[in-house]
């Protein structure tokens, strides 16, 4: 929001109202103030600050709901029980709705009244963004850029196409870009583009290995959707619809989401609603696709025995229902998997999700949240931590370095790509292992 809105609170109120349907209303009516959600939230658990109680974070949304939408709205207004929302209150709540919430859904998992608090925070962010109150240092700014250019780093289609071909050449992987017809259309995460380009080569290698017709689409490629985590509902729809249009244009039957938590939540569970009808293709996360083809035998992998543990991305496992796929893959690879204490659906969030990694001032809070994950990883005694979300990977990387880990942090996707039993024609030189790859210098990527 380049120019702040005239009446931020009014914008927020309108946005809140437009988001409230029966499910949200039922949630806002049900809280019995039992305080259990705080006990599941890494920010309260690590700081002991009652302000970080999850249900407390959505007070502005609840206040507007009771005053304008609830069954007894007239009474709340008449008796002054829910005052008009003020910009001061919204501003005061900014760090609660953004900095101290990864929308990881642990609170939703414990709430005895079945309130999806994480979802309420997402709705709250819509209102905050409409009021121009998304934290500007990075998250707000990146969302604005993404809304305007389709990629949070302003990567144009041409630049993306050239990047793909560079990576293809570098990794000696045939890249399919903007082909007229492709059954499978993969997408990328802007973090991969910036930090882990190897994952794009890995996707290509695997799709070639499967032998299906596939192709990147430069007219709709960036699935990260910073707009979602910033709360820019319109920006979010611009991105998703461009990807949908691109996939349709490519005749895709399967849209593959990259290693990114919120990308999956965005495309798998929310894009169709914005599209207005069922999507003409299925949406899968890359680990689901790999697990599917391992099961069908299309993907053959070598054994890669190692002492590892696996970090579940909240949006994939707890929120997305794809907890099993990574285990299938790791088992196929013969990895000695030491599950963390609260692994799988009840896993602690690494602290980097939900856009907080893009909020500079939230760093200290993030470090506190990461401390839990750090202890749990160290407790497993594993040498390497795999994950299939670049956001988590980045957080584990930074956190690990800060903690002086001698462990490495790896991507499950790249691990698979490195251990494919090559059906590719004999005689071709074995490409260099991808895990050590850095972004090519001077490729114009910030």
């Amino acid at each position: 929001m380049s120019t702040p809105p005239a009446d931020p609170a009014a914008n927020a109120m309108r946005s809140f109202i437009s988001d409230i349907g029966p499910t949200i209303s039922l949630a806002l009516e049900s809280c019995v103030h039992c305080g259990q959600c705080a006990e599941a939230c890494q920010y309260y658990v690590q700081t002991g600050d009652a302000r970080y109680t999850p249900i407390h974070k959505i007070e502005p949304l609840k206040q507007v709901y009771h005053r304008e939408v609830g069954p007894f709205a007239f009474a709340y207004k008449f008796f002054g029980l829910a005052p008009k929302l003020t910009t001061e209150k919204l501003t005061e709540w900014q760090d609660l709705i953004y900095d101290s919430c990864n929308m990881c859904g642990r609170c939703s998992l414990i709430c005895p009244m079945g309130i999806d608090i994480a979802d309420l925070v997402e709705q709250s962010r819509h209102g905050m963004y409409a009021a121009g109150l998304a934290p500007q240092d990075f998250l707000g700014a990146l969302a604005e850029k993404e809304h305007a250019s389709g990629s949070p780093f302003g990567l144009t289609s041409v630049q993306f196409r050239d990047l793909l071909h560079d990576i293809g050449a570098k990794h000696n992987v045939t890249m399919h870009v903007d082909e007229p017809q492709a059954d499978i259309v993969p997408t990328v995460s802007s973090i991969d583009v910036k930090t882990y380009p190897g994952s794009m080569a890995a996707i290509a290698k695997i799709l070639n290995h499967i032998g299906a017709s596939w192709s990147f689409r430069t007219d709709g490629f960036d699935a990260d959707n910073v707009s979602l985590t910033a709360g820019d509902r319109d920006g979010q729809n611009v991105i998703t619809q461009s990807i949908v249009k691109a996939a349709i244009a490519g005749g895709a039957t399967t849209l593959v989401m990259p290693e990114c938590g919120h990308a999956f939540t965005e495309m798998r569970w929310e894009a169709a609603n914005a599209y207005g009808k069922d999507l003409p293709f299925r949406v899968v996360q890359i680990t689901e696709l790999i697990a599917e083809h391992i099961a069908s035998g299309k993907i053959q992998v070598n054994k890669a025995p190692q002492n590892a543990t696996y970090h579940d991305a909240c949006q994939l496992s707890r929120r997305g229902g794809a907890t099993a796929a990574p285990r299938v893959i790791l088992a196929a690879l013969g990895v000695a998997l030491h599950e963390m204490e609260d692994s799988g659906d009840a896993g602690w969030c690494c602290g980097g999700g939900g856009g907080t990694a893009l909020i500079k001032r939230a760093q200290p809070l993030r470090d506190k949240a990461f401390a839990i994950k750090q202890k749990q990883v160290e407790a497993t005694g594993a040498d390497i931590v795999y994950t299939s979300c670049s956001g988590c990977r980045q957080t584990l990387d930074h956190g690990g370095k800060a903690a002086g880990w001698n462990k490495t942090v790896g991507s499950l996707l790249e691990l698979v790509a490195d251990n494919l039993i090559p059906p590719s024609p004999p005689g071709l030189p074995q490409p260099a292992p991808l895990t050590s790859l850095k972004a090519p210098a001077g490729s114009g990527i910030i």
Binding site: E29, E39, V69
Partner: protein, 219 residues
């Protein structure tokens, strides 16, 4: 018209009608909002989603073992309170009688001694929960008038019930009238405060179970 006759007669009728109207009002106000259809491909068929809803209604009563250490005290006090209430309400002879009069259903009751013990335990849990709500930083931040009023409106029927079973403080008629008035106060406030969770807990958990089953997500 004695106090007791008033309590059992017009006052009970008024309280019942207010409760029924209030509950329907609140539920209608929630469920009749504009519904946005979800188009994302569901991982489970409709019937399994319903089953997911029903399952969550039950499973959310017991916190996951991962959460148990941090919520043990609050949850176990909550169990004592709610199990105590159920024993009092559905195994106490006079209560079964009231239910019988309204629905015609009846079943054997437990001796009064057991009910008095259950009431004492329930009261103790209630007092402990209030102490917790007044001291725990999170609960102090979250709690509003409704929490304390609803607490009182549960405390009064139980304490007047215990006095009634003792029949020493005052005549049976007076104590029973007070007991019924306290229940009526609860019934009148129920639809407008947190006591509405008697209905919302099923709707809330069911809705989450249903929606999450669509995603195959954990509940």
């Amino acid at each position: 018209m004695t106090l007791l006759a008033f309590a059992r007669g017009p006052a009970m009728q008024a309280a019942t009608l207010i409760m029924i109207a209030g509950m329907f009002w609140r539920l209608a106000g929630i469920l009749l909002l504009r519904r946005k259809t979800a188009h994302a491909a569901a991982r489970t068929p409709f019937l399994l989603r319903l089953a997911g809803g029903a399952k969550t209604i039950v499973t959310r009563t017991v916190p996951r073992k991962n959460f148990w250490p941090r919520v043990a005290s609050g949850v176990s006090l909550g169990w004592v309170l709610h199990i105590g209430l159920f024993v009092i309400l559905f195994a106490g002879a006079p209560h079964i009688l009231v239910i019988h009069q309204i629905t015609g259903l009846s079943w054997p009751n437990l001796p009064k001694g057991v009910i008095v013990i259950a009431s004492a335990l329930t009261l103790a849990a209630l007092v402990a929960l209030l102490a917790r709500r007044l001291t725990h930083p999170v609960l102090r931040l979250l709690s509003n008038t409704d929490d304390y009023l609803s607490w009182l409106l549960v405390f009064l029927p139980i304490s007047t019930g215990i006095l009634l079973s003792g029949e020493t403080v005052a005549g049976y008629g007076t104590l029973l009238a007070l007991h019924i008035f306290s229940v009526e106060a609860l019934m009148i406030w129920l639809p407008f405060g947190k006591l509405m969770h008697v209905a919302l807990v099923f709707a809330g958990r069911g809705m989450m179970g249903f929606n999450f089953a669509r995603k195959g997500a954990a509940t």
